[in-house]
């Protein structure tokens, strides 16, 4: 470790030399890595907004349970508490006949006059049950089997669509992250192999002098990390610029689209993109370095 610290300056100089030796190629590596990480930034932003949308839609997921005729208002309260304690149920609320009618009036608007044709309120009290989409089937089944509940009205098709969208967004995000990771690793390891090839005489001399593999390899790892970090910083800069421009032009919010706070998003970009680039740079370089393994 002490020897390693003694040589930090040497390693940095070596990295600079390796970069300068193939400057144009390395500039393209930085630009390429930056563009790939920029794409990753877009995916992360999209996934974040998508997740918020899914959470919002999840929050809206509900089924309605209708009481049997003989159930009294006291019993309704007991049933509501019982259902509220079920797994997968987030909250329950009893909607009485009057509220049910006024809701329908709101929905019908001017056509609500039709309700005046009824001498009595035609609506029944029901229980509004907010649920976790993941536990939808089990909750509907349990509510149906609850004493005092005559039938359950669900929006199963809509809820299933929400589930599918959530799943698709997650898979897409993972696929993009995987693709970006592999692409960066391949670009970097190729670049490191190229650097090793360009310096093969020097590497061979160091081997003959008894240099440990780590001493030979570290400048290449450092080079890979520096190049990807530069790419990560470029990507972060453009993502922050893009986010700021987008928020300025849309005034911070789009109806029905729950945007994350601007600062939260820019902070994620400034932290995650350089962070991911560091990790990818390290592993990409190690992968490339495997080509200088000496036969024992």
């Amino acid at each position: 470790m002490r020897r390693f610290l003694f040589n930090i300056g040497y390693f940095l100089k070596e990295s600079g030399r390796i970069i300068r030796l193939n400057l144009l190629s390395n500039i393209f590596t930085v630009i390429g890595t930056g563009l790939i990480l920029f794409l990753l930034g877009l995916v992360i932003t999209g996934a974040d907004i998508g997740n918020r949308l899914v959470v919002m839609l999840n929050d809206e997921a509900e089924v309605n349970g209708y009481f049997s005729q003989e159930v009294t208002s006291e019993e309704m309260d007991v049933i509501a508490v019982k259902i509220g304690n079920m797994d997968g149920v987030r909250s329950t609320r009893i909607v009485d006949e009057d509220e049910a009618k006024s809701r329908m009036e709101e929905i019908l608007g001017e056509e609500a006059k039709i309700l005046e044709l009824f001498s009595d309120n035609p609506f029944e009290a029901f229980i509004e049950i907010r649920i976790n989409v993941d536990a939808m089937d089990a909750v509907i089944n349990n509510v149906k089997n609850t004493d005092g509940i005559e039938y359950v009205r669900d929006n199963k098709e809509v809820l299933e669509k929400i589930q599918d969208i959530t799943y698709a967004l997650r898979i897409l995000g993972y696929l993009m992250i995987f693709a970006v990771g592999i692409t960066t690793l391949i670009i970097l390891s190729h670049m490191i192999r190229q650097g090793i090839y360009n310096n093969k005489d020097q590497i061979n001399t160091l081997k003959l002098l008894g240099s440990p593999g780590a001493f030979i390899g570290f400048p290449y790892v450092l080079t890979g990390v520096i190049l990807t970090l530069l790419g990560g910083m470029i990507a972060a800069f453009f993502m922050v610029w893009l986010i700021n421009s987008a928020y300025d032009s849309i005034g911070g919010t789009i109806l029905f689209l729950p945007l994350p706070p601007r600062k939260e998003l820019t902070d994620i970009m400034m932290l995650w993109l350089p962070g991911i680039s560091l990790v990818l740079g390290f592993f990409g370089s190690l992968f490339g370095l495997s080509s200088i393994r000496e036969r024992s």
Binding site: R3, F6, R17, L206, L208, G210, P212, F215
Partner: protein, 223 residues
């Protein structure tokens, strides 16, 4: 220190480079390996450095077996050796001083000591004034001296010089040989390969390994 015991070396293309070599080289000895080109001189050095391993027989360097050794053990052996390669193997784009220091960076010495030893070695080979010159700007003879400085600055137990007199005129060749021999003062073993036997024929305190078609004969001369 270096013990060859019935060592044979066959290259992958089936060329037999050495046959049943047995010799014991002791600490502080001066050894000349002579013989015509292609006789197996460089193969002997490659074996000592662990670049090649014996096909049959055993070879111990600094009491460590070369055959079936781990890469780490081979590297340890190499760190005790100061090699002077025939083609020098200096790192271009660096100064003489940087080249000498690069050969020491991974040894167990402090940066200060490293610089002192590098300066001393360059002074000793007469290149103190060229320590900041890029090696590609040096003459053949100067480059060779930098290679020697790199080898000796490491304060090795063994100096291996492969054809150090090749391409040199008589006076320069003698100077290089005298320089290499001078490192025996530090009880360093010096092994020199050369086909220029006329330069060493009068040597009185040395061991001669004469290689011919992969077989060697040993002659020891003592004062």
């Amino acid at each position: 220190m270096i013990v060859f015991n019935e060592v044979s070396l066959v290259y992958p293309d089936k060329t037999q480079a050495l046959f049943d070599v047995s010799v014991d080289i002791k600490q502080g000895e001066l050894v000349y390996i002579t013989g015509p080109s292609g006789s197996g001189k460089t193969s002997l050095l490659k074996l000592i450095m662990g670049i090649e391993v014996p096909t049959t027989g055993t070879l111990n360097v600094f009491d460590s077996p070369v055959k079936n050794s781990s890469l780490g053990s081979i590297r340890k052996i190499r760190r005790k050796i100061g090699p002077v390669f025939q083609e020098f193997k200096l790192i271009e784009g660096r100064t003489s001083l940087e080249n000498v220091i690069t050969g020491m960076r991974f040894l167990n010495i402090t940066p200060k000591q490293m610089k002192i030893q590098a300066h001393e070695a360059l002074e000793k080979v007469g290149l103190g004034h060229k320590k900041l010159s890029k090696v590609e700007n040096l003459s053949w003879g100067e480059s060779q001296r930098v290679a020697i400085a790199r080898a000796v600055a490491r304060k090795p137990s063994l100096i291996l010089a492969d054809e150090p007199t090749g391409n040199l005129d008589y006076d320069n060749a003698i100077n290089i040989l005298e320089l290499l021999k001078s490192f025996r003062d530090m009880n360093t073993t010096v092994i020199i390969t050369t086909h220029a036997t006329h330069l060493i024929k009068d040597e009185e305190d040395a061991t001669f390994l004469r290689v011919n078609n992969g077989r060697i004969t040993v002659e020891r001369r003592c004062l």
